[in-house]
Every structure is written in C-alpha cells, then in structure tokens.
Symmetry: C2
C-alpha cells in the first residue's frame, strides 16, 4: 500500500509495460481503469520498455488496441538514448543486429544501416536473427568496430517460458571476439528517462517509476532518485525481495491499486 | 621432433582436420605427401572433426577434392557417438538445432527430426540457425525435454576471425531455461574414437592422435591414453603451452614432419 497522501505529491508516473500494464496481448486486470483514474487527476503517465524488437509506434498501437489513452511522445524505449548517443558521436553508419521494424525506424531517423564499413555495431533484441546476421556483426567487431547494446535484459518472457534476449548474446559475442560491449542502454540506466524528465520539466521527488522487475524498473528509480513502486503482476514475487539488494519504496499487488489511491 | 624409432611402434594415426590437414579450403603444405608416405608404410589413417555443420560424406568429398586418399569409414565425427547413444536410449524422435545437411543425415539414419513431441533436443553447430529455431528448442527444454550437445567447441575459426560454436550457445540455453546440458559428445571424449579402435582392433599404445588444439585433440589422446602429437599449423602456439594443463607427448611444426620420420 502507498501512504494515503503520497499520490498527491506525485506529478508523473513512468510505467513499465510487459508485466505491469499488460501480459503479452492481454491488459492486466484493473490497469486500464487505474490509468484513466490517474489521468483524470491530472497525473502525467509515460510507458517505458526495454524491448527493442519493435518501433515506437508499434507500442503506441498496442496500447491503443487495449484502449489505453496514450500519446506517441509518452512511449519511451532505449532507441531514443541510442540515437542521441549516435548523433553526439557523429555516427550515421551503423550495422544492426535487430529486426526489420527496428532497421526501418533507424532509417526513418536518418541513419544508414549497413554491414559495409559501419562506424558502430548496435546489438538489439532480434527475434528475426539468423546465424549469418550474427556472424556479420561479429566479423565487424573482429575488425575493430566497437559495439553497443540497446539494453541489458537477459530474457524475454513468452507464454512458453523465457527466451534469450540481448543480455545472453553479449557474453557470446565477447567470448567469440575477446572484446567487451562499449555501452549498454535501456533500463536501469538513468538516461532512459532523465531526458524526458528534463524535456517535460519533471522533478525526481515528484516522480514515480512503476514496474515488475527489481534489476531494471526499481534499479532505474534508484538511479534517478525518484519513488519506486513494485507491482507483483510480473516476474517478481514477494519471496524474491528477501534476497534482493535492490529494494522498492512501495509494493502493490498491481497497478489497479493506484486507482484506489487516486479515487 | 619424434624419437627416431617411435613411428615404427605406431599402427594408426587419428588426424584432426581443420588446422591440421587443411585450413578452410586449402591443404596444409606437406600434409598430402606426409599422409601418402604414412599409408605407404602401412599405417592406418583416420580423420576426426568436431564440426557437425556437415554430413560425413561432405568431409569425405572435401578430402577427395584435396586429393587425399580416404575411405568413408575413416571419417569420424561426433554424430556416430550421438546416434549410438540415441539408439541405446531407444530414442528415435529428436528436435535439432542444426543444419539441413545434418538433419538429412539423421533422417537417412532412421531418425524422425521434429519439434512436435520429440524425446530429446540435439544441439549441433548450426550456421543456418534462426532465432525461431533456437526458440523452438528452448521452448521444448522449458517443457522438460532434455538436451545434448554434439561437441563442446566454443568457436569455429573463419578467415575473418572466430565465430560462435555450440559451446557458446550452451550457456545461453542454460541461462534461459535454468537447465544444464545432459551430455556433450565429440572431442575430447574418449568415446569419440574408442568405438573405431575397438572395431578395427587398435591398441592405444600403438595409436597416436595428431591435432592443433590442446583442449580437444590432445585432451582426447590423454583420455584414450594413446600418444599425442601437437602440430603448430592451427590455433595453438608454443607460447600457449606454457599456461596449459594439457601437455602433448610430442610437438611438430606440422603434419609434414611425419613424412620425414616415415621416409
């Protein structure tokens, strides 16, 4: 439970998506009503995912399909930080281990995506990966091209059990090449949301991060020094908390409990 | 160098292929002549690889292309041990992370290769891998199907640097599923060649294993308790020997030096 008055002191909520707002294609019971209730009280809501297998508008469309009110600018995923970084380094030619949707998003953003003489290799979550594509990236890294990763998650949940994510391909690439990843974006890095907070004039002490994962969502809140709210609708159980070095400020059964607080 | 009379006491040589007999598509200088010379002195020669991206006859064809004398029965790769094991366990339905050539070889051998209700998952070197194929194997392992690996090698050499082999996908699969591999075939397991030695009546003390890798070729010789001969035409340098717990009996610049001994 949240302290009765806490919600009045919070202007903006950053919500994790999978495990917090929805599970796969299904909204989590009560999430939609809670979000509507928060919006009605004038709270800003943002939606934050580490998943880089889709483009920003795919997440926008998904929330819309679930009849959750959202603006495109409220969807936050690691590619914003990645693209800002590329521009800051004057990099416009990149090789990509990533999906066609992500490749197209990068091209739309003005980048050239190519295995031919790129300045950097970008490792994203790629459920369209082939050995040839992976080998093309590894050959470039052997040649001395640096590589970054969009996020550190080791697994992607699926209805049939966890599947390998970027965080399991990074040690494979490092073992084959002897070269470590240069930089990893996404939650729990503070920059994942500090750019948006600056853009929208949000103060950390009046902001909350809500999510189901200790090492990404709650660790992000710790990094940003905002309030952290763990929900138990995803991968984390109360038992997991006993052995965790990352501790949330508050624990709720689910996002639905924010409606009770907000009503 | 070998002791002058040693070669007279050896009846059979097991040769590693890549890095020992050839490098990629090129025979190693002097290897062809050395093999011919050994054959002329009545020595038995076998060719042993851990690479499971091809079928046995592909290696046979490759040596023939290089004008190296060879019988199909002299080619040894991990699938013999794998198939013997499957039969000993009465397993005839398997899921495969492997190439089309390997799948066809297993089908020709009488196995049903399917993701639909298999008894076991077999992880081979798969340079035709897709994320979907990997995910299909991982889902089966989540469901409780055990998995074995054809060999433990972590990398495959390529002209552009090492590429990931089975040994780098095993920790990825174990991390995603929480389940360790049940059994790993191939060098350096003694069974890789002891079946052939029994078949052809070879005695370990009159047999030599020749190869370029300490942890597979030389470790196999140690496991079999036969003579071990390291060649320096592949991945191992003299400097590597200083830090290795696996030590060869003899070191040659290359297979060519066996011709000098045999002439």
């Amino acid at each position: 439970m949240l302290p009765p008055k806490l919600i009045d002191t919070i202007d903006a909520f950053f919500f994790d998506m999978d495990g917090t707002i929805y599970l796969g294609e299904e909204p989590i019971p009560g999430a939609r009503a809670a979000l509507r209730s928060l919006r009605e009280r004038g709270k800003r809501c943002y939606f934050v995912t580490n998943n880089t297998s889709k483009a920003r508008h795919n997440y926008f469309d998904k929330l819309k399909r679930m009849e959750i009110e959202v603006e495109l600018s409220e969807i936050i995923y690691p590619m914003h930080g990645v693209c800002d970084y590329l521009r800051s380094q004057a990099i416009d030619r990149i090789a990509l281990l990533g999906t066609e949707a992500l490749r197209q998003a990068l091209v739309d953003d003005g980048f050239t995506v190519t295995f031919d003489n790129p300045q950097l290799v970008v490792i994203a979550y790629d459920n369209e990966m082939t050995y040839n594509k992976l080998a093309s990236c590894i050959r470039l890294i052997h040649e001395g091209v640096a590589y970054i990763a969009t996020h550190p998650d080791v697994v992607v949940p699926s209805p049939h059990g966890d599947l390998p994510d970027v965080g399991l391909f990074l040690p494979l690439i490092e073992s084959a090449t002897g070269r470590p990843v240069e930089r990893v974006f996404g939650k729990p890095n503070a920059e994942m949301i500090t750019g948006v907070m600056a853009r929208d004039g949000l103060r950390a002490e009046r902001t909350a991060m809500v999510g189901d994962r200790l090492m990404t969502d709650i660790a992000l809140a710790v990094a940003v020094n905002c309030h952290s709210i763990l929900v138990l609708t995803g991968v984390t159980s109360v038992a997991d908390l006993a052995t965790s070095s990352v501790v949330p400020d508050f624990i709720l059964d689910g996002v639905k409990d924010l409606a009770a607080q907000a009503s």
